[in-house]
């Protein structure tokens, strides 16, 4: 029930925005994400963006795990 997917924002109008993934687009609500710009990435659950997502954070996250594995 907490399924969420990452989408790329292509346009914003107030609380409404359009996000895309793999060539598909979806109308979503962005009530809970301040300072959103087209080009940003968000995690979307049940039609609502619940958090912003950046490439840097994802890479940092992955590097952290990789580092720990490498240390085994």
């Amino acid at each position: 029930m907490c399924l969420a997917v990452p989408l790329k924002i292509v346009s914003i109008a107030g609380k409404h925005a359009v996000g895309t993934a793999a060539g598909l687009s979806q109308n979503i609500r962005v009530d809970f994400i301040p300072d959103l710009k087209p080009g940003d990435y968000v995690m979307v659950h049940a039609g609502f963006a619940i958090q912003k997502l950046t490439k840097e954070q994802a890479e940092e996250n992955f590097a952290c795990i990789q580092e720990a594995i490498d240390a085994l």
Binding site: M1, C2, L3, A4, V5, P6, K8, K15, A21, A22, R29, D31, F32, I33, P34, Y41, M43, H45, A46, G47, F48, I50, Q51, L53, T54, K55, Q57, A58, E59, E60, N61, F62, C64, I65, Q66, A68, I69, D70, L72
Partner: protein, 364 residues
Amino acid sequence: MLFDEKFRRPDGIQRLVKELWDISQETGPIRLMEICGTHTMAIAKAGLRSLLPPSIQLLSGPGCPVCVTPAGAIDEILRLSGLPDVILASYGDLLRVPGSVRGDTLLRRRALGAQVQTVYSPMEALEIAVQHPDQEVIFLGVGFETTAPGTAACILEAKEQGASNFSVLCLLKSTEPALRALIHAPDFAVDGFLCPGHVAVITGSDAFAFLPREFGLPAVVSGFEPADLLFSIYRLAEMLRQKAPALENEYTRLVCPEGNPAAQSAMERVFLPTDSLWRGLGTIPNSGLALREAFSPWDAAKKFGFSPSPTVELAGCQCGEVIRGACRPEQCPLFGRVCTPADPVGPCMVSGEGACAAAYRYQT
């Protein structure tokens, strides 16, 4: 997809797996519980269990909103589905869950003429209400903290629009009280928790700090990709080996300690904590969310009544015990004989990756 690709096919999996086998030699049997139903699905899809040593057991906890909704609540929902000029809008998950009569589900009621529409978002339910001004639309608001803010936003929007034919049957639940109830149960036997990443996006990872702090239980907030899950399980095992229980956040790309303040404040504006009945856990104080007084016109419980009987459950079904980790599916007397995926008795057999359905497929 997107940035998640590399979390799907990470290097070094072999080393992690080997490490887990090594750890389990030292620690002996380990029982870890994933709380979130989406974690359960992701673990199954990645075939994670097949990689773990047999002594590391993954249990599916009370984090599937369908599995924790008691039969009495489903009975009430079925009653609502029979009211004239009522359209129920529901996430698909709920449609197969039987009430206290076996086989009596929303899917069956719809086949017999009830108006039940599946939606992906609460906003879709509100749109249905706008499109059908002559009908009453009731949104079945199940879910945890991840889902609650959107539900709150939807109710705020309904109020703003003055939508008079829309209401929400609020069955939202809170994670922390359920975990506390679980831990306090006499048959509690879990060694560590895989904490729900998307709940934590909203609540912040700090919401799970009570697990090591108060109960000495290791806890890892985890993402949903194979690497996330395997690494989080490794961290739980490692903390158990080290006997150093702590809260760790594996899902740093999305989860911060304090969560999403805008989402929290929407929940705060619309909801109040309330006592709530859970399948297998009984009534837990302050474990549910109710609409505040100001939103009564959009509260389906007030508009149409809602009095789930706390006692009716399907005779013999051990779903409550299974959810608590107190009983393995195979130990249920109905398992595999009376209760099968094609003809499920309890909610744990309903979902394709529910604990019982998964166990059924693996028995031969």
